[in-house]
Amino acid sequence: MDVDGPQTAQQVIAGLRATSEGADLVQLLTPEGQRVSHPQFDLQISPVEIQSLYRDMVLVRRADREADALQRQGQLGLWAPLLGQEAAQIGAGRAMAPQDMAFPSYREHGVAWCRGVDPTEVFGIFRGIDQGSWDPFSTGFQLYTIVIANQCLHATGYAMGQWLDGKIGDAEAGEATICFFGDGATSQGDVHEGFVWAAVYDAPVVFFCQNNQWAISAGLDRQTRVPLYRRSAGYGFPGIRVDGNDVLATLAVTRWALRECRTGNGPVLIEACTYRMGAHTTSDDPTRYRLATELEEWKLKDPIERVRVHLVREGLAKQEFFDGVAAEADELAARLRDYCTSMPVPDPERIFSKVYAEPSSYLEAQREEFLAYHASFTEAGRAPGGRH
């Protein structure tokens, strides 16, 4: 009988702990900063490249912490922190080729960074001035999707289009798509239908699941009995589990997966095991549902610290390098603070902007009424709502 069969509660817990350890977890850099090798996924990488991965992780973490602070100062309405997931996101983002397309959820600030989306553009959404202002094509990074798992079908459809356009077959010049979603999202029907469609149409899409162990207050045992990377086998495509706090392993595995897709061997599922070190969002209070000790354990696996230790111990970077990155981080934080407070407030007409590509008579009429109504106040020398 299948070994994944019925389990006791204890077995379940054990199985879940296993999601951040165990033989099937691909790792190239231990939490202690030791390079280890892997039979299938080895990585030739120069010190300079490792430095730049470190730099990216430090900068996105700093931007994230700044956003968190800005939210508390009332500059942002909400923030969804990536704290702890820097390696998973920078590893995946840096594995992408310029011609690849990413479909994020709402927490992929690190991937956005790799695709050249400025943090201020991401802030726009959380400040409530827009719903995603960057160019999804020039960046190869689609807009955030808030309805859990919806983007998995969009990514699959886009990848079907890459296939229809004959853009696959060449490991270098070919195109691939990568879709980001969380552990909680795996329970949604849309992830399943994405897997079904992608498998049936050989869609060149990498399903990149950041298993950060939590879906708001729901631990992984609310979503599954067994590690999530095992889902794909039942659809006939490979699933790999990588240490999502190891930027080198995530880079290597995601590169491999994207190449597989470009050459026509897609789809591929990656489960990146990581941890949501912060709250779900700035509105959340994790102390209600998880123990501080858990966080402490994961701090020992910090994605940035292990790279720093590695660079230092192996003498791959001098102190000047670290000082330089720290200075850059300070500048970035300052720039974000300034920009955020100076962000323009959209004018009321924005409500009616671009609802349709081809204007709708009825909506135009509503817009006219709206403008006339507002004019009635400004004529009366009062702003709307100014009457009372």
């Binding site: 079908l153 902007s353 349709y356 008579s361």
Partner: protein, 331 residues
């Protein structure tokens, strides 16, 4: 074979088939997807022959899942395709409701025009075919209530031929309703005659006694009623086919009601919070001084669609329309 340009008599089903064919010839980005649309040509044969003539890369069967159909269509649209999705029956669009309402309808607004959604969702709707549950629904109002979508309903073979092409050419998502029990209605089509714009309603029969508006499968019912009303009682009903359900094109309705002073609004759908309510509300407001009687609504009842043996009594028919005419005139 290509869509012929010679005048011809076609069924509504054939009009859709030829319209799809013409749209696919006009634009290589147009693709047709859905359950059983390929070899089978759809359970109503609307896509008959399209896969054979345009190939499996432009016309293909999907796995069985409506959220998957619409969700991947959204992704294909992002990629630059113009997917025409077939939902097999009205009652099976609901698994896709989330993708339609939260994504298809909102992406253009969310991206402020950077992402276009030229997606057509074809839905055979309405009852009267003696079917089992979920095959006779009239879900138009759900979509008309959803900003970001455009919603149209064709009622005759000629409109079917033109409206499907116009819907596919539209850069906005269009929910396209097909009156399944009228698929076999016939009419003469002259492909050389230019059609009216997609988002316009049309006066199909002029009259002075009262105005009757309908859409989709009820249009023929209302036209039949108008004929009888004239023959039996000399009433001249002005019949208007809404054609576009969102946005509504009510100007012709307002004009008409200002002349007739009376309006009857007919639809198979349940009445609560429906399109007929919207028409009644707007006309009651716009034509406040012209109305000589309250706007009457003749609709399906606010019950689930009943077993087929009861549908004749559930659906508005010629007699219920004429009864409403009597009541609106008695005022």
């Amino acid at each position: 074979m290509a869509a012929t340009d010679a005048p011809q008599t076609i069924t509504l089903a054939k009009g859709l088939n030829q319209g799809l064919r013409a749209a696919m010839e006009a634009d290589p980005k147009v693709i047709v997807i859905g359950e059983d649309v390929g070899k089978l040509g759809g359970v109503f044969r609307i896509t008959d022959g399209l896969q054979k003539d345009f190939g499996e890369r432009r016309v293909f069967d999907t796995p069985l899942g409506e959220s998957g159909i619409i969700g991947t269509a959204v992704g294909l649209a992002v990629r630059g395709y113009r997917p025409v999705c077939e939902i097999q029956f009205d009652g099976f669009v609901f698994p896709a409701f989330d993708q339609i309402v939260s994504q298809l309808a909102k992406l253009h607004y969310r991206s402020q025009g950077k992402l276009r959604m030229p997606v057509v969702v074809r839905i055979p709707h309405g009852g009267g075919i003696g079917a089992v549950e979920h095959h006779s629904e009239s879900p138009e109002s759900y979509f008309a209530h959803t900003p970001g979508l455009k919603v149209v309903a064709c009622a005759n073979p000629v409109d079917a031929y033109w409206m499907i092409q116009q819907a596919i050419a539209c850069d906005d998502p269009v929910i396209f309703f097909e009156p399944k029990r009228r698929y076999w209605d016939k009419a003469a089509l002259d492909p050389a005659m230019a059609p009216p714009p997609l988002f316009t309603s049309r006066v199909l029969r002029p009259g002075m006694t009262a105005t009757v508006v309908a859409y989709g499968p009820m249009v023929r019912t209302v036209l039949d009623a108008a004929t009888v009303a004239e023959a039996d009682d000399g009433h001249q009903l002005e019949v208007i086919d809404l054609r576009t359900l969102s946005p509504l094109d009510l100007a012709p309705v307002f004009d008409s009601v200002r002349r007739t002073g009376r309006l009857i609004c007919v639809s198979e759908a349940p009445s609560e919070a429906s399109l007929t309510a919207e028409v009644a509300a707007r006309v009651s407001q716009e034509c406040f001084y012209s109305l000589e009687a309250p706007v009457l609504r003749v609709t399906g009842y606010d019950t689930p669609y009943p077993p087929a043996k009861c549908e004749e009594d559930y659906l508005p028919d010629l007699d219920r329309v004429l009864d409403a005419v009597d009541r609106v005139l008695a005022f």
